[in-house]
């Protein structure tokens, strides 16, 4: 199990959140929702050890996550990538093997086969020689999910994977997430679209500078919690129709 205990993180003097504790179950897809600036991305970066924590620990099955980095995979928001970089789809997916290979070792035939298999899982085989700047948003997101497949991690964390992509790509990615869940992996998804929360997730974490609520979706996704984390209006809009029906 992936656990964070007593996390305090802040970019400046005032922390984004203080003394935060949360856990993520294997074999579940856990969504993280919350308003902009609630600290969702900060939480997963702290969990992955990519930013400094003022306090707290993060463990995976009792071991510090920093010691078992190979067991985690992270699919970041696409904005930071240089789209003109001279690299094609196949080579991007192949970089998923880099962490496992260790310093200075080159990928061999086995690693290349793994990359080919992942491309086929995400229906990208025909695009393998495309430069990444020539892909649509959905195709590109599938490339980064294919890279996470190649990483063979136990914990996969995705930051807003469905923003700005077509429905077909969203369905393909969701199918992979469900496949991972059934293999017993821990899947964590930062999500923005509240309408699909019940449909996509087993567990849910609602954040607003700390945990508002966490647990199985049915128990956590309530008018009160949404009203508390976002605004009373949003709670009313989302839940009114359902209760009348």
């Amino acid at each position: 199990m992936l656990r964070a205990d007593g996390l305090t993180v802040g970019y400046t003097a005032t922390p984004v959140f203080e003394d935060l504790s949360v856990q993520f179950e294997p074999g579940k897809i856990t969504g993280i929702i919350g308003p902009n600036g609630a600290g969702k991305s900060t939480l997963i970066k702290a969990i992955l050890g990519m930013i400094k924590k003022q306090a707290g620990t993060v463990t995976l099955d009792g071991q510090a996550v920093n010691k078992v980095r190979q067991k985690t995979a992270y699919v970041e928001q696409r904005a930071h990538i240089d789209m003109s970089f001279p690299i094609n789809v196949f080579d991007v997916v192949l970089t998923g093997t880099y962490g496992r290979l260790g310093l200075f070792k080159s990928p061999g035939a086995k690693e290349k086969q793994q990359a080919m298999d992942a491309l086929s899982d995400l229906k990208l085989t025909e695009f393998k020689k495309r430069q990444i700047g020539e892909l649509s948003g959905g195709q590109l997101q599938r490339v980064f999910v294919a890279r996470a497949v190649v990483q063979q991690a136990e914990v996969v964390i995705l930051d807003e994977p469905f923003v700005g992509i077509d429905m077909k790509s969203e369905a393909d990615i969701m199918a992979i997430l469900k496949q991972w869940r059934d293999q017993g992996k821990t899947i964590i998804v930062i999500h923005h679209d509240l309408n699909k929360v019940s449909e996509y997730f087993d567990d849910l974490v609602i954040m607003n500078h700390g945990i508002v609520a966490a647990g199985p979706v049915d128990e956590v996704y309530t008018r009160d919690n949404i009203a508390h984390a976002f605004s009373p209006d949003l709670g009313n809009v989302l839940f009114d129709g359902k209760e009348r029906a």
């Binding site: 001279p86 690299i87 080579d91």
Partner: protein, 283 residues
């Protein structure tokens, strides 16, 4: 023109100094193409310029102490890189501002130290290159640096690729991206020391940026870009040397101008650039 080319070739057979110059030019062309490719892909062109200027005080100090120029240059190049990072991190100033402050200060210091240390002819050669005066000692240093650069790129290819393309991903799997950054800067200062002889300090940035940028226009694959950048670097160096010898031009400006012409031609005809397609599209 044709006679001057045959003159150049027969002179190559005759004169030792010209053979040394050609070998140095070729080696510098290869190494600056390799390292320059990573410099432009990482958006570090200004940093490359800064580090090459910052080695000047190191050269002066090494000259005064009578030690190997490479040691002095490397110390000051790395020092400048560290200082630039320190100033940017410990203030709200942008990185390019920090680069501007540090490298101009280093260059100014170097200029004064060099004038104190030796004759003004030396300074001119350091600034603009004098490939026709390459000594056997210089040539040996360049061979060693080329070997270091090639080994670095071959061994750490995967790490250079991922830290240039997607540093966040590299960090997420535990790669120390800061170490890679400083390793690249150290190798960059070594390249700078070699390129001092052929193009001179002021124009080193052109050898780093222009052949690599030209290669970028022709390919979508990093490995091919590295190869092409080296080839363009070698072509520019060789033709530049010919002009330098034949017309008695300073070698640095001659080489850099040839590199710029190759870039211009590529800008127009490279298919990836699509200059003609764009032109046709507008009509």
């Amino acid at each position: 023109m044709l006679t001057s080319i045959t003159d150049f070739i027969s002179a190559l057979g005759q004169y030792n100094f010209l053979q040394s110059a050609l070998m140095a030019s070729i080696m510098v062309g290869v190494m600056s193409g390799l390292i320059g490719s990573f410099i432009i892909l990482r958006g570090m062109s200004l940093m490359g310029d800064a580090i090459s200027h910052s080695v000047l005080p190191g050269i002066a100090v090494a000259y005064m102490l009578g030690i190997n120029l490479m040691i002095g240059a490397t110390v000051f190049g790395v020092l400048a890189a560290l200082l630039i990072g320190y100033v940017a991190q410990h203030s709200n100033l942008k990185n390019d501002t920090s680069i501007g402050i540090v490298f101009s200060a280093f260059f100014a210091l170097g200029f004064i130290l060099i004038s104190m240390a030796g004759s003004s002819t030396n300074l001119h050669h350091v600034l603009f290159g004098n490939v026709l005066a390459v000594s056997d000692q210089d040539l040996l240093t360049t061979v060693i640096i080329l070997a270091v650069v090639v080994l670095f790129v071959v061994i750490a290819y995967k790490e250079l690729l991922i830290t240039s393309f997607d540093a966040t991903f590299a960090k997420s799997y535990g790669l120390n991206t800061t170490v890679m950054q400083y390793a690249l800067m150290i190798v960059l200062t070594l390249v700078t020391v070699s390129a001092l002889q052929t193009v001179g300090l002021i124009l080193i940035v052109a050898m780093l940026v222009t052949p690599a940028a030209t290669a970028f226009l022709w390919t979508n694959r990093l490995a091919i870009m590295l190869g092409l950048a080296s080839i363009f670097g070698v072509i520019a160096s060789t033709i530049g040397l010919y002009f330098s010898y034949t017309f008695n031009w300073a070698s640095g400006p001659a080489i850099v101008l040839v590199a710029a012409v190759i870039f211009l031609i590529s800008f127009i005809i490279a298919p990836k650039q699509g200059f003609f397609q764009k032109l046709r599209g507008k009509v």
